[in-house]
Symmetry: C2
Subunit: 162 residues, 2 copies
DNA sequence: ATTGAATAATTCGTATCTGAAGTAAACTCC
DNA sequence: GGAGTTTACTTCAGATACGAATTATTCAAT
């Protein structure tokens, strides 16, 4: 309305199509922002720590879970398929960063936990990761950032249940 | 500020850490929104047309380019690697939806174009695709959508050059 | 004209991801 | 307590993705 496109008055019919394109433009812009940030983070994680973003994300989930998380819970939180989680965890286990522990009372499930070494490695990465995010979002005024956060919250809640 | 978190006053030092977490939260929320929408679109494209999102996106870029696009331009616009574009185009060629044309005056390059059948297929998909996006963003008030679009525009421009 | 640098694509190895199918354990309900 | 269902996880095939190395062509600069 103010700084990206003139708000030309249109007849109702054209207006409808216009709204459609607006929705599409909103979506494409959100996708672009996400991909740009992701690309930066991915490159920096790789360059600085030789770590991939998916593995970092998985470790981030575990760091806040004292007793670890089940595979299914990881899958839900990371929003990726179960098969994917299996292979990510396999690799992190191979690297000695996480471990599978038996869950008492349910022999089907595992609790995936950070190893001490994994936790230490994660904390070092997380400190820098957070600084990168602060840097990447730092071009926005504080008020804009707050507003964006708020609007994305509304948007998220308005989406159909996953 | 209004509907997602109380704005507790904190001393300057704690405030700094608080801002950091805010930046992280903003980023994670944006990522979540993007992934939720993407998941919906992906599932619907697949279910309705047996089409993948990356291929759809590639065709979408071609639809607006009368004379086609070069591989490198596709790579730039889709924000994916060149090797990836090669394999996507290969498959679309195999399916008869796009074709590689020689570029007069540069024997290194191709112009990737939709075939008539590809164009027809794309237009049918695009109509529904747009309706899905309108539906997914429809839970937001018009004013919120506009504002979100605007803020994302500012954010995008504030990011370091890709 | 010729050499050297830059550009356009492709190829290849590996990682990530999905979704469907498979296995094992836990639950349900009569 | 046993059949059928659900849940937890793995496996597998195929698609998507990156990035480094390769090939072919063009451009630049003498």
């Amino acid at each position: 309305m103010t700084d990206d496109h003139a708000d030309i008055a249109l007849d109702p019919e054209t207006r409808l199509a216009h709204d459609d394109h607006d929705a599409l433009r909103l979506w494409l812009r959100m996708l672009t922002c996400t991909m740009l940030v992701e690309r930066h983070i991915r490159a920096r994680l790789k360059g600085r720590f030789g770590m991939s973003l998916p593995r970092f994300d998985l470790m981030a989930q575990l760091e806040r879970a004292k007793d670890g998380l089940r595979m299914s819970e990881l899958s839900r939180r990371l929003m990726v398929s179960g098969g994917n989680v299996t292979s990510l965890v396999d690799q992190l286990v191979r690297d000695g960063l996480v471990e599978r522990r038996d869950v008492p009372g349910d022999r089907r499930a595992f609790a995936v936990c950070l190893t001490p070494r994994g936790r230490e490695a994660f904390l070092a990465m997380a400190r820098e990761h957070e600084a990168w995010i602060v840097e990447l979002t730092g071009g926005l005024a504080r008020s804009d950032r707050d507003r964006l956060h708020q609007l994305l919250g509304r948007f998220k809640r308005s989406l159909p249940a996953p």
